[in-house]
Amino acid sequence: MNSAVVPLQAIAFQIVLLLTAIAVEAFTFYQRLDISRKKSVEYAVSLNLLSTVVGWLAFFNLQLVLSPNLKRQLLEVIFFDRWDSNIVLVILIAFVTFFASFLIKLQALNLLQLLLKEGKEEVSQQKSRRYKSLIRSRDDVLEPPKQANAILMANAFSYSAILLILLLRILLQTNPTEVLP
């Protein structure tokens, strides 16, 4: 049974939020990691696409195993934009999503850099880096690695930007519809 109910707004919102997150994170990467503008955008695109896709897959699997009550709340959110009964849950999910996406992006950036390495010269570089890291290991323990820090900041900034957009949307939306009797 296929009806004419299409998740167009969900896709449109996702595009807007993704573009925002990519812009914010690319800027943060450019500032905090020593990489070119092009590379920072490519990193931001890859990491955000990956975390979005992982999010979708988690969502598809979770919605299958929801309890009846949670499923009712999910359907109310999606079809009728009713968030009233589950604000605490939403905040909890937002926190979990934030840290999950941070971990995913952190791993993904390591993987991506491994994948994008040049053939031979990189190996020697890696060796010297490992050697360096042996020397500096004590410093590394004390200060968090630059990369993880950059990703944490980027993630925080992009989530803040998204939150701002969502708040703006709520502020702009409530007036015209709620005034009607």
């Binding site: 109910v5 998740p7 896709i11």
Partner: protein, 337 residues
Amino acid sequence: MKSFFTFLWKIWFIEAALNGLKALWKRLQEIQPYSWETLLLLSLFSWLVAWLIEDPVLREVASSFGWIFLIFGVSWALSGKKLPLPGIQINYGPWVTGALICIFLFREQILNDSFSTALVIWPLISASIAALRRFIAPGPTYKIPDPPGRQDIVIVLLFGILLSCWIQFYFVVQNWLADYPSLLAESFRQSNFVVRLDSDSIDPPQGILMLNSAEAILQNDLAGRPWGAVELWLMNLDSEKQELESEAKASIARFEESQWWNLDMFILQGQPDYTLQLQAIWRGPSSQPQGYTIGKTCALRQISTRTVRGAGSPSTVVSTQVTCDPVVLPEALRVRN
């Protein structure tokens, strides 16, 4: 005179057809053995063979070869072709090839006859084809793409998966609506996720089915029964209600949403004889904080019928008549946006 013209027309037609065949033959002769045209010809040839073969298995094999040649031929022909749009560069070749592969997989029943799976994996397959093209070096041999190429592959693949996720979400929404058809009774105008394209048609909620089924059960159980039996039935209204609910719910039990429907029944005060108020109560996902209630009233009336039994004197039997009003929808469902 007329026949002369038809004669001329025929000659011209034959001539044109011959010229066309000649041109085609010339074109066919020009085809390089190592080109996409060869593959398309092989595909046509396979289908011709499949058409001629009687044996179903061999026929299937030949037609599969036809598809495979077609897929390779088309992907070769369209490789590097870009949409003639200013500013945007989109290789549409992988999309066409991916669509062909999905149709092929669907037709060969590799996907369990699931059209949705074919649609969902389309972007995924197209992205994979686009990625694979970077492994082909002129020659043709294969090569490992350089780092910028690898970066492109990562983005293209992830983007393909994201598109697949969006299509999958459409089908998830369809599944929800199939499990909860009463959602369609309300407007989705408030939604920030889905939009209803046929916004004028608001479907009736399943509670109507349940009420109608309850009415049919009441008619069956009470209509024509002696009035005394009905009064006895009314005394046990609470236990009768539960039985009626479970029986009426059977009409919608195939839907997951039936767990959120409840049936209530009570006697309306201040009415002649007995007037039963039936209510289908929806506590499932709704735009209304407390859900909504659909009502139906059924009047139980005494009617006297004279019956003549055997040789005895005519006696008056008071039996019951059940008349129900149409379903009354709540305000929330009557408002059509």
